[in-house]
Amino acid sequence: MSDAHDAKLVEEGAALARRPGRTTTPVPAVPENWAGVAHADPLSRGHRGYVGTPLARLDGPVKVRGRAPFAAEYGYDDLAYAALAYSTIPKGRMTGLDTAAAEASPGVVLVLTHRNAPRLNPQPGYDMSLRDPGIGFERLPVMQDDRVHWNGQPIALVLAETQEQADHAASLIHATYAAEPAVTSFAAALAAGTRPLEIFGRRIRVELGDAEQALAASAVSVDETYRTPPHHHNTIEPHAVTVAWHGDELRVHDSTQGVLHTAWTLGQILGIDPARIRVTSPFVGGGFGVKVLWQHHVLAAVASRTAGRPVRLALSREGVFRMTGGRPPAEQRVAVGADEDGRIRAIVHTGAYATTRHSPWPEPLSMASQNHYASDAFVLDTSMAYADLVQNCSMRTPGSTIGFFALESAVDELAGKLGMDPIELRLRNETATNPIGGKPFSSRHAAEAWRAGAERFGWSRRSPVPGSVRDGEWLAGMGCAMVSHHYQRRPGGAARIRLTADGRARAEVAAHEMGMGTATVQSQILADRLGLDIDRVSVGYGDSAMPGRFLAVGSSQSAGIGGALLAATRNLMDELLKLVRDGSPLAGLTLAEVGAVNGGLAALDDPSRHESYESVLARAGRAELVVEGSGEPPAEMANVSMFSFGAIFCEVRVSSVTGETRVSRILGSIDCGRVLNPRTAASQFRGGIVMGLGAALTEETVFDDRNGRIVNASLGDYHVPAHLDVPPIDLIWTDIPDPYAPAGARGIGELSSTGVAPAVANAIHNATGRRIRDLPITPEKLL
């Protein structure tokens, strides 16, 4: 975003702080059975209030002062510190595990191995049926036997009086192995054969018409293979837990995207009632899909119980690489056929990626091609190849970040073959209905986003001739690509609201703050739904004892909390009306006849009939009113196809001498429904774009194919973009509320990273004439 835009936001924020800002017309409750009804939520109907304003993050001051507690910062008397030792072979058995030196090392409290670990239940994994709230990806037994399944598996935990003592003792543990043949490269995994990917027990294959035949019959077509490497999330905060047993109750201070799910999953593995486990996670230093349950949770809990002491287990950066996986390597075929006028007739998108045999986890590459171009025929499918590597897991926009790289590179290539502007090609294939299944989109303004983005970016100045713009040794070019992600409201959302006699409201949801501004944005929504000033509301979160089954995944959390909060506010208004006494201006009004405004309720048709919350509670002699509400089943997704859209534009400079690529500017033009808070949304979009730049140019988890061990297990060797790699990021949005989404907002977390890598690759092609189909685009690929 430009400096000017930033300055504008700051100014708007300051202005907001000076005025009450709250809703001035009564906001009615959202009726029951709203899900699936267009514009049922007043906040999706052009409502003006706190929603849509650039409120500064409520957790900003505490974070800036360094007072926001993270999982590895909770202190206990008698706290013991844990460190892990990891396997150095990919597969086999431990024939010896020498712990004597570690046990004799100063300060050591306990050395935990498969020989002395208590018996545990298997990890339940993630329940794709959504019945059970599992959150781990890996399903292996945790330190229960002498088996080694990947290079980097924890083989021992050391507990000591200090972290340094634990780290040192862990380095003294020595294992000997009987190695077994292992599949330690993607190439070997592919060579051993692939299996179709299933999600929810069903293949994700989509076939419409005869795509291969249509492709062959197309006037113009492209048919290419795209390769992408493994990636790691590299959250700024490495995984950590601090755990303490109080009798049979387990307290877990965590950094997680699922507090309730972590409690449930730990309960299954430890064989105790999940209700006896309380997981809190008030701040998460980045999640991106990897802050789920991994073996360190289980090992910390077990070590704590065995030693009878609170335990902290904070993974080192190397530890994060060794025992938590990321995006898997993939190889995709995308073929697109079109008429001479650019009408797409066939899309084939198939691909394979590596996962583990014991815990196959989906990376649905081909879904990127499923919902956009109005093709007549499709074949879309993804398959899995098994490798003995660290468990892969979801990473910001599973399937799509690399799926869009393949699709949107191919579409750009098609535009080149057609001699057509790549934006024009996309506009010609716009569709009002989902090409698969035919459902209408709930709200699709992709064409507006394309046009507005092209205008603002100056796309008309792009030379259509690759390699034609030169500035000394530097070749300049522009590229673009689509971004998209589906709307998702997961079932199980619930919220509690406590309204107190002083006219303040606090909502509680077992949801998560990973830096995206959850509490800030939900406070804005709560203030608007209750007609309260922003400083009279608060939102509690990050505690498994709070209501609701939330996961901060799949860009689903805002909608999930939104659906729960609107139900809880409706229930609160309903209960308030029951407390209304004769003599109240509200007497005799029904729920459908009132709205929230000015710190109380008022008649919709006569806002002068108003009574404050303080007054209602005082008259009823109540100190507080506590209600809960549950989100309705997500019926809105049944009859309409709900997706966010947008376009990424970027300009690159490529050295004709060294092959170095520098991105000089980038723009995201976004259609994501209502933007609840332009400041926090912009921050999230920027972050996604930066991650996309990493995937495009610098990031790769380098495995040693001989033994499946990660070679660049550090932030010095794994190259996330540095500040100098990140150009000015400009952002604009359509800000058109989605009539079917709570508050009109579809969710944004995953959206912006999807189209960045192809936009960069397409710009590089425009700059140099070189088409790179293999990420990351490092200098040698452009020599």
Binding site: A85, Y86, T88, P106, N151, E164, Q165, D167, H168, S171, E473, V657, T658, G659, E660, R662, L697, T698, V702, F703, D704, D705, R706, R709, V711, N712, A713, S714, G716, D717, H719, P721, A722, H723, L724, D725, T778, P779, E780, L783
Partner: protein, 328 residues
């Protein structure tokens, strides 16, 4: 934990005396050594902190004398460095990060160790630098960043410094002090090629201390440049870097000093290219021929062959840029 003693040296004599026992190591800014201690790659029994020794940067007969304890930032920012040896300033600023440069000393920079990941992964891999004779796992593993010049089957690690590349081109000398007295070695003679003993990285005797770096007076009429090619725009080691000083008169190269980083186990002075350049025409064709002559000795491996062409191109472009600059 592995115990070690820590002592702070008051002067050079004190330092050399303190480091007289086997297992001693000098500690500068600690930006590399502390990492190596944590990873147990280095296991010294005594640390002798020499950051209190000379950090002065002073004129020395038209040249420059830099105390070994001078911080990298202080050198890069020094007026005499920026005016007389801009190539050194640029090389330092191309390395590491601001925070690291603020801590790192000149002496420590010279003696920093390779960032070969196999050298650091004590639990997972064999390394002849760590355990002489056990073998090198980098040779058969992913080695895109490794050496194409001067390596041996025993070790293919590269020297990571940017500063040293400029110092090599500048004909710097290194002042040493040991129990037996003081001596001067050229920077280009400080580091050894790995051969069959990659664990021996320099010509320093045990306990010998680097006390300073001496730069000769600049050559009149030479222009200089440092260019670093890397995977990201900052905080990454060089794939290839080039330090060049070039004198041209009437279209003929009168002097040429050229050093390469990111390609060899030591800062690589490109003598072959220099011989090819001097007395020849200052043209891109001649520059490329000189670069190719230097890289003719390259022994690329499976993953790092691109460095040969990248080095040739970068040398050619840097020299060509200096000539264009001259004309402009």
């Amino acid at each position: 934990m592995i115990p070690f003693t820590y002592a702070r040296a008051g002067d050079e004599e004190d330092a050399v005396r303190l480091a007289g026992t086997a297992g001693s190591t000098y500690l500068g800014g600690g930006t590399n050594l502390v990492d190596l201690l944590r990873r147990t790659v280095e296991r010294p029994s005594a640390l002798v902190d020499v950051t209190g020794l000379s950090s002065s940067i002073e004129d020395s007969g038209g040249g420059l004398m830099i105390g070994a304890a001078a911080r990298n930032t202080a050198v890069a920012e020094h007026r005499l460095v920026r005016t007389r040896y801009p190539v050194l300033s640029r090389a330092i600023l191309a390395g590491a990060s601001g925070q690291i440069r603020n801590m790192a000393t000149v002496g420590g920079n010279l003696l920093q160790r390779t960032r070969c990941p196999y050298f650091y992964d004590v639990a997972g891999y064999r390394c002849n630098k760590r355990n002489p004779g056990e073998g090198c796992d980098a040779v058969g593993g992913p080695h895109r960043g490794h050496a194409i010049l001067g390596a041996s089957p025993a070790c293919i690690a590269v020297h990571p410094s940017d500063m040293c590349v400029a110092l090599a081109a500048l004909d710097a000398d290194v002042h040493l002090r040991g129990a037996g007295g003081s001596r001067l070695v050229p920077l280009t003679g400080l580091h050894r090629l790995p051969g069959t003993h990659p664990e021996i990285e320099t010509v320093l005797a045990p306990g010998e201390l680097i006390t300073g770096v001496q730069l000769p007076a600049p050559v009149t009429g030479e222009r200089s440049a440092y260019r670093k090619v890397r995977d990201r725009a900052s905080y990454a080691f060089a794939l290839v870097s080039v330090a060049a000083l070039l004198g041209v008169q009437d279209g003929v190269v009168t002097s040429a000093r050229l050093a390469l980083g990111g390609v060899a186990p030591k800062p690589w002075r490109a003598y072959t290219a220099e011989r090819s350049l001097i007395g020849g025409p200052a043209t891109a064709t001649a520059f490329r021929a000189a670069a190719e002559a230097e890289l003719a000795a390259a022994t690329p491996l499976r993953d790092n062959g691109f460095k040969v062409e990248l080095a040739v191109r970068t040398i050619t472009a840097v020299l060509d840029g200096l000539v264009r600059e001259e004309r402009a």
